[in-house]
């Protein structure tokens, strides 16, 4: 039950084509869902534009709410009322594909020097965050008497990058599918809450775009939610959030390898034979794509208008992603997954958010972000 509930609310994008013969049919089956993503995302953009225009023509000061929030809210309204009809589901599940393509394209908006400077600061903070988050989540999970492998999955999910890390770790440590369903549900539910809480806290504390983006990239677990939470604050904050989150994602292979060796040494998972191949398999390839595009932008491969065009493509890809974040989140299904993993996740998230906020304040003071 638990795993099926998550399966319905967390459709995993088709990783590969099962055979060449039915690949075109499968691709055609994605079109309705991709169109739904585009319609929901564009509706969000339309509402933002409409409110701004209405305020201007009627001389009213209306709050500027980013299209990201509207797209997510429309998606949430659909998935939590009428539900996403079956014909759209496989296409909606591609939101993660668009997220990764969007991140690669976003590389064009960073010069390699910025990546090195901000990425360097991010990596230092990520190392501290990882050590604290993994330790804290492990102790917290044990205190709540959760199953050891569920504790590992929650620790990996909340310290690195949410769903992808949990899926990567599940296979590597031979965890139950039910455990990963619990962990994924907890991370997704908390991610949905973060979307609304992080921008509020950021505004209350008057964080700069850089500081807020860095905090979001360090503290929000799932890449889609981190990107959305950053973009909800501002375009610049969204960029920094993606950069920090991408640095965090780059550590996934190393952490999962560590856990695979640990569980393998206990005889509860397969031994890792080739560590290099393991790392390459688990390494998120879009990180390399992002760096390569950033390198091309730095060496002047593109003209200014071309850079703007690639930046636009990235924004359109993110528009599809944000619509998917709302459409795939079924709060009722997620809340059925049991209270204890959620409580452990929630307490862990709050502590990680506070610690990372402290780290960001410290880094802001030291490096003038």
């Amino acid at each position: 039950m638990a795993s099926s509930a998550v399966r319905t609310s967390v459709p995993v994008a088709p990783q590969t084509a099962p055979s060449e013969t039915n690949a075109p049919a499968r691709a055609a089956g994605l079109i309705p869902g991709i169109l739904l993503l585009a319609v929901v995302g564009y509706a969000g953009k339309f509402i933002e534009h409409f409110i701004a225009t209405y305020g201007k023509t009627h001389h009213l000061v209306l709050p500027n709410i980013e299209y990201v929030l509207w797209a997510i809210l429309i998606g949430l309204a659909i998935s939590n009322t009428i539900g996403v009809p079956a014909i759209f589901r496989s296409g909606v599940a591609t939101y993660e594909f668009w997220l990764k393509a969007g991140i690669v394209l976003l590389g064009a908006r960073f010069l390699l020097g910025d990546v090195r400077r901000l990425g360097g600061v991010s990596l230092i903070l990520i190392a501290i965050e990882l050590a604290l988050a993994l330790t804290f989540m492990t102790y917290l999970g044990r205190a709540f008497k959760l199953k050891p492998k569920l504790v590992t999955l929650l620790a990996v999910g909340s310290s690195i990058c949410g769903v992808s890390a949990i899926i990567a770790a599940q296979g590597a440590i031979d965890a139950d599918e039910e455990d990963s369903s619990y962990a994924i549900a907890a991370i997704l539910l908390l991610g949905a809450i973060s979307l609304f809480l992080f921008p509020l806290v950021g505004h209350v504390l008057h964080l700069s775009d850089h500081a807020y983006g860095l905090w979001t990239g360090l503290a929000v677990d799932n890449t889609a939610e981190a990107t959305a939470a950053g973009a909800l604050y501002s375009d610049a904050a969204g960029k920094i959030a993606v950069l920090a989150k991408t640095c965090r994602n780059a550590t996934i292979g190393f952490i999962v390898l560590g856990y695979a060796i640990y569980w393998g040494s206990k005889g509860q998972a397969e031994q890792v034979k080739n560590k290099g191949a393991f790392l390459w398999k688990k390494f998120p390839k879009f990180v390399l794509g992002f760096l390569l595009i950033s390198l091309l932008a730095t060496v002047g491969f593109f003209t200014k208008p071309q850079l703007a065009a690639v930046g636009n493509l990235s924004r359109w890809a993110f528009l599809l992603t944000f619509a998917g974040v709302g459409l795939r989140t079924n709060l009722r299904e997620l809340s059925k997954q049991g209270a204890r993993p959620f409580i452990v996740g929630a307490v862990g998230e709050i502590v990680i958010a506070v610690i990372t906020l402290g780290l960001v304040f410290g880094a802001d003071h030291l490096f003038h972000l």
């Binding site: 994008a13 088709p14 990783q15 590969t16 084509a17 099962p18 055979s19 060449e20 690949a23 993660e96 594909f97 668009w98 990764k100 393509a101 690669v104 394209l105 064009a108 998120p284 390839k285 879009f286 390399l288 794509g289 390569l292 595009i293 091309l296 491969f301 593109f302 071309q306 065009a309 690639v310 930046g311 636009n312 493509l313 924004r315 359109w316």
Partner: protein
Amino acid sequence: MSQPSPLHRVSLDTWAVLLAFAAVLLVRFGLLKTIPW
């Protein structure tokens, strides 16, 4: 049982990178115009 196709081994990440690079090259050589944001 049939052999999985080479496409089967390409991950979602890699597809995303390939699509992004294809789009970037099309923009670079003037073959793709984007809708302004």
